[in-house]
């Protein structure tokens, strides 16, 4: 199972590495922005279309 913590977009919280944000760059028809969605490090992201594996997983 692929988990969020293996993804480039995952940024763990300093105080709790088991939780973090999935941060992504989005360009919609009107504007560009960065968005953050709370996720857990162990969340299954096998079917996530935005998954990009980190080069080094800590």
């Amino acid at each position: 199972m692929t988990t969020c913590q293996e993804c480039k977009s995952f940024f763990p919280l300093d105080e709790d590495q088991a939780k973090g944000d999935c941060v992504q760059r989005v360009k919609d028809p009107r504007q560009a922005y960065y968005m953050a969605k709370p996720v857990n490090a162990e969340d299954d992201c096998s079917s996530c279309a935005s998954f990009h594996k980190k080069e080094f997983v800590q």
Binding site: Y33, A36, K37
Partner: protein
């Protein structure tokens, strides 16, 4: 205009041609231009949302998920609700737009509309039945919406309240014939205790400390030996305080999430050093506010946005009561004039962005709301100018900066309303005029001395409190103080007043919704003189007002227990002090009003009946009743007689103006019979938003000559479009006959002026002279449209080219291309008044 033509044409040429919208595009900074064009249009076009704008399912899912999880929890409802709100804020997606310096949005993504499914289950079906607003994949998400809708049936605020409402009143109100609103504390809007929260003396962290002290004190008190009635009540207070604390802490946490995102972008993605610095500044601002009071203008705006975002996650807020120049002004002064940490240009960028952040705010609304608020999500009427508590002029440099920024970003929402008083400087008046002349349709002008006296007359606010007033929605003044501020849209008692005269002819039976709504007055054909006829009108007026007020009063009484607002309470001194929900009527002075939609139709109709039926005996009431029942079909000559040969309001004609005064007098007398749960009066406030179009197919034919389907007049005490034939001074003289202090709560007046005539210094002086007459006559409100027919017709033909052309609809402005053809035509029909 093509991009090439826009690039090649100078600002001077655009300004000479009065093509302000294109001039603005060239004049504003690159940042403001980007951010302005980045907004997803959230106001419905006519009654439909723009392509690409979608219902935000994330919020609805988070809310529903937590509600389900907590079903078995022993927590009292207020605690459950606070925890749900905290869950939503902790888990919603957040974003930061490129080039932005301010952050925070109601929905999860820029193109989404936050949807709160917990207010009224019957309205949830609108989300299910609006496939254009359902996000892709539509079929799958429609199923998600269905499940959410099903969950809330029997559990939403309205469902909880229905069994304890007067069902007959509620059905009449919700029939859509006489009311425009749902009697709910979490459905409408709320003012804020800005004197408590926005004066830099405290922020969420300070309030949490105060709450901790209160909780400790009372906890110790209840465990002392002994027991009293007060001890028994203390447990509820403890719950309320705990709930307030939960929401305030959640507010601090979501701000810190924005701070973290800004740092992640700065440290991992952004390469431009200047933008990195801006992102770190955003991070610093979000770490400061709302936990601690703001230190800079940017933080002050950011603090305001967070408060509004929190409030809009707690409830559906269709308005934005605010006085931004007054509360943010000291920070502008500090940054720009004293510390010189911001240039005027940098400050203008921040002010412009603040307007843009507000313009994009949106919550999903049912269609009847959208039709009544065409082109906007809600009435963000921001109050400017006015006097301070001591009576001195409150205008400052930020007042001017707001006027200048508005001309650059040209958003239709928020709009401004300016509290005029005799001490306002010429410099400020010129800035205001420039906004009006450049076709923004705002600021509307309010007569501060009259309205302060009005607040004292109708609701007994002490003068210092009355002087803090802001627009609660479009027009109604409301203080921003502990006891004075209004936490609920009491104007859910909005009356479709054209039904008053319609019901005189149908003995209260509504042929559109097919039910008995009004009073069963005698068959109109049996009435033998005008006094009997007028008596029937009074009875219908009293009946309609009473139905609406009873329902709203009941909702307000039930609000603290059934629909509490822990966050709004958490930023309200009265709740922090008492431990009671802010909607608790005993804590408030009470300043309810009945918004009187479609009011002037009554006056013109009564005058036509008096003249043609009773004075001239040209027609009988039976003949008129029959013509109206046929919607005037086949009676065109008779219809024109009732339009052209009967006196019309707005022409300084005592025949009809006296009828206006009589009607207002009857309404004012009854306003003091009707009482809100705080024990205060219910004055009427004639205005329309775009209810004149929404009700076009709901109000039947009337004796003023309108047919079912025709737009109603544009509202307030504005004369019927094209019927004010005696010039602008005659309009003011008619309106000046009304006592704007004792006659009602406020009176909207639309005027359309010629931009060509008012083009230069002479134009400004003409307008100033006109405004002096307006002020001398003690008229409480006036607003202007100053866009010519040619531009408006061109915009109808080529809407894409005229996206930033703005018109004043009623108590709000909208981009002309976002309102329906019928509304557009109704605005073009208004008389263009020449001054001088």
């Amino acid at each position: 205009m093509t991009q090439a033509a826009l690039r090649d044409t100078s600002v001077d040429v655009f300004e000479k041609n009065q093509e302000w919208w294109w001039a603005a595009e060239k004049k504003r900074s690159t940042r403001l231009d980007y951010l302005r064009k980045a907004i997803w249009k959230k106001g419905a076009i006519g009654g439909l949302y723009a392509p690409g704008v979608k219902v935000d399912l994330e919020r609805a899912k988070l809310h529903t998920q937590k509600a389900k999880e907590m079903e078995a929890s022993p927590d009292p409802f207020v605690m459950k609700f606070a925890k749900i709100l905290a869950h939503v804020l902790d888990n919603k997606t957040i974003f930061i737009t490129d080039q932005a310096q301010l952050v925070g949005y109601t929905g999860s993504l820029p193109h989404t509309m936050a949807w709160d499914p917990s207010c009224a289950s019957i309205l949830n079906e609108e989300a299910y039945n609006d496939p254009t607003a359902i996000p892709d994949p539509v079929d799958e998400n429609q199923q998600v919406i269905r499940e959410i809708c099903n969950y809330w049936i029997g559990k939403s605020d309205l469902d909880k309240m229905m069994p304890v409402f007067d069902m007959e009143d509620l059905m009449k109100m919700l029939s859509g014939s006489i009311g425009w609103g749902v009697p709910l504390a979490r459905g409408g809007y709320s003012n804020k205790d800005y004197e408590y929260i926005m004066t830099g003396k405290r922020a969420f962290g300070d309030i949490i400390e105060e709450l901790d002290r209160k909780i400790d004190e009372v906890d110790a008190e209840v465990h002392k030996p002994g027991a009293t009635a007060e001890t028994a009540r203390m447990y509820d207070k403890l719950n309320n305080w705990d709930a307030m604390k939960i929401t305030l802490e959640a507010g601090i946490r979501i701000a810190k999430r924005y701070a973290r995102l800004a740092r992640i972008i700065a440290e991992n993605f952004e390469e431009d050093p200047q933008r990195k610095e801006e992102l770190l500044k955003i991070a610093s601002a979000c770490e400061q506010v709302p936990a601690k009071p703001p230190r800079t203008l940017q933080e002050s705006f950011q603090y305001d946005i967070f408060i509004q975002m929190m409030s809009r996650n707690e409830a559906i807020e269709g308005a934005w009561p605010s006085r931004p120049d007054y509360y943010h002004g000291p920070y502008y002064d500090k940054d720009v004039n004293i510390d010189k940490t911001l240039t005027k240009e940098e400050a203008l960028d921040l002010v412009g962005e603040f307007l843009i952040r507000a313009a994009e705010v949106c919550q999903f609304k049912p269609k009847w709301t959208r039709e009544g608020l065409q082109g906007i999500d809600g009435t963000w009427v921001w109050t400017m100018g006015g006097v301070k508590k001591d009576g001195s002029d409150a205008c400052n440099d930020l007042t001017i900066a707001f006027m200048q920024a508005a001309r650059l970003v040209r958003v239709a929402n928020p709009t401004f309303s300016f509290r005029w008083h005799p001490k306002v400087s010429d410099e400020v008046m010129r800035e205001i005029f420039e906004c009006i002349r450049q076709g923004l349709g705002y600021p509307s002008m309010r007569h501060d001395p009259v309205l302060i006296a009005n607040s004292m007359h109708w609701h007994g606010h002490p003068i210092e409190e009355a002087r803090t007033w802001v627009h609660q929605a479009c027009l109604s003044p409301c203080p921003t103080t502990k006891r004075g501020y209004q936490p609920m849209r009491m104007a859910n008692a909005t009356a479709n007043c054209a039904k008053i005269i319609e019901y005189v002819f149908s003995s209260g039976f509504d042929h559109v919704v097919n039910m008995q709504v009004g009073a069963e007055t005698p068959d109109v054909a049996t009435l033998t003189n005008f006094e009997e006829f007028f008596g029937a009108w009074i009875e219908q007026m009293k009946t309609i007002f009473s139905i609406l007020v009873r329902a709203v009063n009941r909702a307000r009484m039930l609000a603290p227990t059934l629909t509490p607002r822990p966050f709004l309470s958490g930023i309200s001194e009265r709740s922090i002090e008492s431990g009671l929900d802010t909607c608790e009527p005993s804590l408030a002075q009470g300043n309810a009003w009945i918004t009187a939609f479609t009011w002037v139709e009554n006056i013109d109709s009564l005058a036509a009946v008096k003249k043609l039926v009773f004075d001239e005996k040209k027609y009988t009431l039976a003949e008129l009743k029959e013509a109206l029942a046929k919607n005037w079909e086949g009676c065109e000559e008779m219809r024109l007689d009732f339009v052209i040969n009967a006196p019309k309001w707005g022409n300084d004609d005592d025949y009809v103006d006296d009828i206006m005064l009589r009607c207002l007098d009857e309404a004012a007398k009854f306003s003091k019979v009707l009482k809100c749960p705080s024990g205060n009066n219910w004055p009427i406030l004639p205005e329309n938003v775009s209810g004149n179009i929404h009700y076009a197919n709901i109000v039947g034919a009337l004796p003023n000559g309108r047919r079912l389907g025709d737009a109603l007049y544009d509202g307030g005490v504005s004369p019927g479009p094209g019927l004010d034939k005696n010039g602008p001074t005659a309009v003011l003289k008619s309106c000046g006959k009304i006592d704007h202090i004792t006659g009602g709560r406020a009176f909207l007046l639309n005027q359309r002026l010629s931009p060509t005539q008012l083009a230069d210094e002479k134009g400004y002086q003409l307008w100033r002279a006109y405004m002096r007459t307006w002020a001398d006559l003690g008229i409480d409100h006036i607003q202007f449209n100053m866009v010519d027919d040619k531009t408006l017709r061109s915009a109808q033909k080529d809407p894409e080219k005229y996206q930033e052309v703005i018109v004043r609809v009623a108590g709000y402005s909208a981009h002309f291309v976002d309102i329906s053809r019928k509304t557009q035509d109704n605005i073009i029909q208004r008389t263009v008044q020449g001054l001088g």
